[in-house]
């Protein structure tokens, strides 16, 4: 429960003729985490070599790439969440891949090619229209602008007035882009025109290679484009039809081919000789027998399966979580930080209990809790994807805890419930008619400090366990003692404080018999604990002494449970006061038509304000309580950095054997 799944190192060796059945069986079982074989990189190395892919690899990958081309053109994602009503037999799927799929692929490819061609044509016509556009008001045949030997024709826009002192003919039309002109001059007068045109800021326009009126040509091309678009729509409809009818088939084929490729390429992770192969990897110890039996059965006992002894293993096993169902979603929060190492304690269960409690203490409000509960249930129902669902469950647990603490704090949307707070009061004196004692900040603070003391002590105890499990020799003793030292310093400081001051909700040790120098029995005990603790810490690592002030800062850091919580209460109460006390209530005294509008505005302020506060409360509550786990709790014992257990094989969504 507090440790990851136990793993056993397994070595499988056989002749190459057994390679395929072994791969197939390992893939089917989806249990074996392959340790990749790394070839020694020296020239004279003679030994195992990396294996070569199975013969079918090439063709299967080619087929897979082709299928991926098709699915991506349909916009089908391989990880798309689709409801699977019935799984397909893989033997049936193979037949389909052989017979039906090529036809479908061919049909799709043809349609796609046709569509691309139509698309290119449309682009071309649009280009032509673009060049014709300036000439659309020209009332004569475009062919009259080309093919002269004695004349030169200039077409383009001018933005200043043009004065030509050579004989010429000019057509001009006003357009949005400026004045469009066509100027015809004799060849011999070109020099004069070339000089005059830049002064009028002339921008040349190419003469289109068309016959007839420009307007008619534009009309013709537009009708062509329309026709092509119609054809394209027809093709798109056909493609859509194929997509809806065969999407599941494509996905199933994709799954089968990916599996085939992965199996065919597995030998790249094996160590091989001319006639045999060896593969090493990890398997959860509880499933070891199943793996062995499966391989034995699949190969008729022609394979050697060997369980490695712990002394023969040099590398750390991969980590697979091993938690009760309740704590499973919290594994996500652990992965965000870092997966535990195999040898480490796995704090997932602790976090899965403490995180919602902290969230509840921060956002202890029945109303907000209920809103978030509904939200999380809706998210869980409508969201697809494992991670999102897990997040929704974490939010659900947190909001349930929020409701429970709301009952204890007697809070609903900033109002108080019909009973006095069972825990500490968080009601602030906000609003005109506010009264009462206000929040019990001292009580809340001391509660937060107690939570901090307990969680940090727990963290240090776990640290002792971790060091005892992981380290060896003298370092082990020192590290365990150092953690004990931290606990002693913390509690020593507490003893000294209790001996000097009397505080509510804390033991009062001021009445202990004094011994001397203003110290009593408890403070002497505290002092001894602090000195011993510091010695233990120095024994392990003298530099750690600079970290001593963190004892205080980390414990006080838990005050955020109160601070962030109170600010959330304050916002809720302020929203209520503005919306109800300042806007709605004065109108209710003498209701007018304008008053109704004010009441509606007040209602909007109320809803928007509480919505905002819900979001703030959720973010603040989640981030702050997560931070307390990550920074204040984990730094005491947790390193992380474990490898993910990634068994060879896949979860079949569409097919079965």
């Amino acid at each position: 429960m507090f440790t990851p799944e136990g793993m056993t190192r397994v070595l499988i060796a056989a002749t190459k003729s057994q390679m395929e059945p072994v791969i197939r069986e390992l893939y089917r079982q989806h249990l074996f985490h392959i340790e990749e074989f790394v070839e020694k990189d020296s020239k004279e190395y003679e030994g195992y070599r990396i294996g070569t892919p199975l013969p079918a690899a090439n063709e299967t990958s080619r087929e897979l790439i082709r299928l991926r081309g098709i699915t991506s053109s349909f916009g089908i994602r391989e990880d798309e969440e689709v409801p699977v009503s019935q799984k397909v037999k893989s033997s049936h799927l193979r037949e389909v891949i052989e017979k039906e799929l090529p036809l479908l692929e061919q049909e799709t490819e043809e349609l796609l090619a046709k569509r691309a061609k139509l698309d290119a044509q449309i682009k071309e016509y649009e280009q032509k229209i673009e060049t014709l556009r300036p000439f659309q008001d020209v009332p004569f045949d475009l062919s009259l602008l080309r093919g002269f030997r004695m004349f030169s024709v200039y077409c383009g826009y001018i933005s200043k007035s043009l004065s030509l002192d050579v004989p010429h003919e000019i057509f001009s039309a006003d357009t949005k882009k400026g004045k469009f002109v066509i100027i015809v001059v004799q060849q011999k007068d070109r020099a004069g025109v070339d000089q005059a045109l830049p002064e009028a800021q002339f921008q040349a326009v190419p003469i289109p290679d068309e016959d007839g009126l420009a307007r008619d040509r534009i009309g013709f091309y537009e009708s062509q484009i329309l026709a092509r678009k119609g054809e394209m729509e027809e093709i798109n409809r056909k493609l859509d039809d194929i997509r809806t009818r065969h999407r599941d088939l494509f996905l199933a084929c994709h799954e089968l081919l990916s599996a085939d490729v992965e199996m065919a390429e597995a030998p790249l992770r094996f160590a091989t000789t001319g006639r045999s192969f060896v593969v090493e990897g990890w398997v959860p110890t509880v499933h070891l027998e199943r793996l062995k039996e499966g391989i034995h059965y699949a190969t008729g006992g022609k394979v050697f399966v060997y369980e490695c002894e712990p002394s023969e293993i040099s590398d750390v096993p991969p980590t697979e979580y091993h938690n009760p169902g309740f704590a499973k979603p919290t594994e996500m929060l652990m992965d965000v930080y870092s997966r535990p190492r195999y040898t480490e304690l796995d704090p997932t269960l602790i976090v899965s209990i403490i995180f919602p409690i902290f969230f509840g203490i921060i956002l202890g409000d029945v109303g907000y809790g209920a809103v978030l509960l509904v939200l999380s249930l809706a998210l869980h129902r409508f969201l697809k994807g494992e991670e999102a669902r897990r997040l929704a469950i974490i939010l659900r647990n947190a909001s349930i805890s929020s409701i429970i603490f709301g009952i204890l704090f007697s809070e609903i949307f900033g109002f108080s419930l019909p009973w006095k707070p069972l825990l500490f009061s968080r009601h602030l004196n906000i609003g005109g008619h506010a009264g009462g004692h206000g929040p019990d900040v001292t009580g809340l603070m001391i509660m937060a400090v107690w939570i901090g003391i307990l969680q940090i002590t727990l963290g240090r105890v776990l640290g002792m366990v971790n060091h005892a499990r992981q380290d060896h020799g003298s370092h082990r003793v020192k590290a365990v003692l150092a953690n004990l030292g931290w606990i002693m310093v913390l509690w020593g400081i507490l003893l000294m404080i209790w001996a000097s001051f009397s505080m509510p909700f804390m033991p009062d040790l001021t009445g202990m018999p004094p011994i001397g120098m203003g110290l009593n029995l408890a403070s002497i005990g505290g002092l001894v604990m602090i000195v011993t603790g510091v010695l233990f810490i120095i024994l392990d690592s003298p530099l750690e002494v600079v970290e001593l002030p963190t004892i205080l800062s980390h414990v006080l850091s838990y005050a955020r449970l109160v601070g962030v919580g109170l600010s959330s209460v304050a916002i809720a109460m302020v929203v209520n006061f503005i919306a109800i006390g300042l806007i709605i209530e004065p109108q209710l005294e003498s209701l007018t038509a304008l008053g109704v509008i004010f009441i509606i505005i007040g209602g909007i302020v109320l809803v928007v304000g509480h919505l905002l506060n819900t979001i703030l409360g959720m973010l603040g509550g989640a981030l702050q309580s997560l931070r307390l786990q990550y920074v204040e709790f984990f730094t005491k014992f947790y390193k992380g950095g474990g490898r993910k257990y990634n068994p060879f094989g896949m979860k079949k969504r569409f097919m079965e054997d």
Partner: protein, 88 residues
């Protein structure tokens, strides 16, 4: 002017002194939260921008950089604690 001040000084009642003390407390609490907030903001500014950059390069370190980013948050929490203790 001096006369008016003298009159005011003589008429200072216990209630006025109490109210004034309350006001100073509120000011102190506001300063405690506000200034520490600025401090936290300044500290998180640099860490946050570096964290976003680092996450863009490698998504796996998101948890670590989130942790680094929220470390200065303690400053403003201390400010809040001081503020609350002043007020209540």
């Amino acid at each position: 002017m001096a006369e008016a001040a003298a009159v005011a000084a003589t008429e200072m009642t216990v209630e006025m002194v109490k109210a004034s003390q309350l006001g100073m407390k509120a000011l102190g609490a506001g300063l405690a939260v506000g200034l520490t907030g600025i401090g936290t903001g300044l500290a998180e500014m640099a860490i946050g921008s570096a964290a976003v950059g680092a996450t863009a390069e490698n998504k796996d370190i998101f948890g670590l950089v989130l942790l680094l980013t929220v470390i200065p948050e303690t400053i403003v929490i201390f400010g809040l604690v001081v503020g609350l203790l002043l007020l209540f």
